[in-house]
Subunit: 173 residues, 2 copies
DNA sequence: TGCGTTATTGCAACTCATTGCAGATAGGCG
DNA sequence: CGCCTATCTGCAATGAGTTGCAATAACGCA
């Protein structure tokens, strides 16, 4: 959570949003501000603010980068051992609908989440060593542009993981 | 199973193989030839030829394109109601090690399989309508080439699914 | 403060996929 | 044909993630 890209890059394709108060809160002041921002947003939408949701949001606020659902459940359990996994899953879904987090899939199919705003990026994943890298910005721009122009297809980069073998693994055979 | 690309495109990256007898069998004559070819290959490797494996291979031989694991289990059960899912999964893994099938992941993380040889291709998947298309050959060539040149990364196209929104869904909002 | 409404949670069941272990069996050899 | 070896299967358990339903609780209003 170290950089704040153009907010449109975190928004649904085709939609241009003004900077969002709770996304700024996520970036600026960590857990208390994020909690307050999310709580307000929930109430605007007629949704509830619960202790379970607070706990998860606090965990997310102190999380950098990608995190597995198992890790999130475990960290919520540290705060409240009565945490139920299905509640965590549901809350994550809700937070994603709200635009607070975003999920993506590892190459083995498993889910991971990260907190927005984060500039949308794709990944390279090496099947030999398990290493994972961000796509370079110019590479992803080219892919996005090519598919936009060619097929009118709007790429969702957060779900792009290009799988193969990295240079080092290719050299060691 | 209508075209027979350069066999190297079905092989492990970095390895160049002569055309493989059982891959030709898969393409030429359907179930009996594929069964025989796989059986021979198994025996060469000290592995066993079992009724469960035969049933799965027969199902695969009559399958065109991608198929979910649930579908494969169901189809094996039609042949033998005593089919056990874990055996199907294990057999699919083994067949993939042998180069007979290949798996990939749907955008929701679930697995699908298809029978080789099939020219390796990536996919476009629209999250709005669920439509799925093959990447155009020139598009995938460009992606592959760009990452090869830029980071020395060898792309495994069968695991590339680019997620986003298709032209039609973008136009309908 | 109490009540009513309804969103949310806990629980249990489910699907998908993996894995350990003991019994079954494929298949080579004498 | 019988024996032996070791691969393979069936079974049960597990983890990841989803979902229906009844009970709980958030929260607005009087």
């Amino acid at each position: 959570m170290s950089s704040y890209p153009d907010p449109t890059s975190s928004a649904a394709a085709g939609s241009v949003l003004a900077p969002d108060p709770f996304q700024q809160a996520a970036g600026e002041a960590g857990s208390p501000a994020l909690c307050a921002a999310v709580r307000d947003r929930l109430r605007e939408g007629g949704l509830r603010w619960t202790p379970q949701r607070r706990a998860l949001i606090e965990v997310l606020a102190e999380t950098d980068g990608h995190v597995t659902t198992a890790e999130l459940v475990e960290r919520c359990r540290e705060r409240d051992p009565a945490t139920i996994p299905s509640t965590v899953y549901r809350t994550l879904d809700m937070l994603e609908d709200l635009g607070v987090v975003r999920h993506c899939h590892r190459p083995d199919g498993r889910e991971e989440y990260h907190v927005l705003p984060e500039h949308e990026h794709g990944h390279l994943y090496c099947r030999a060593c398990g290493g994972c890298w961000e796509l370079e910005r110019d590479e992803s721009d080219r892919i996005v542009g090519m598919l936009e122009r060619g097929q009118g297809f709007a790429v969702d980069l957060s779900h792009v993981t290009i799988v193969g073998r990295c240079r080092a693994c290719r050299e060691t055979g």
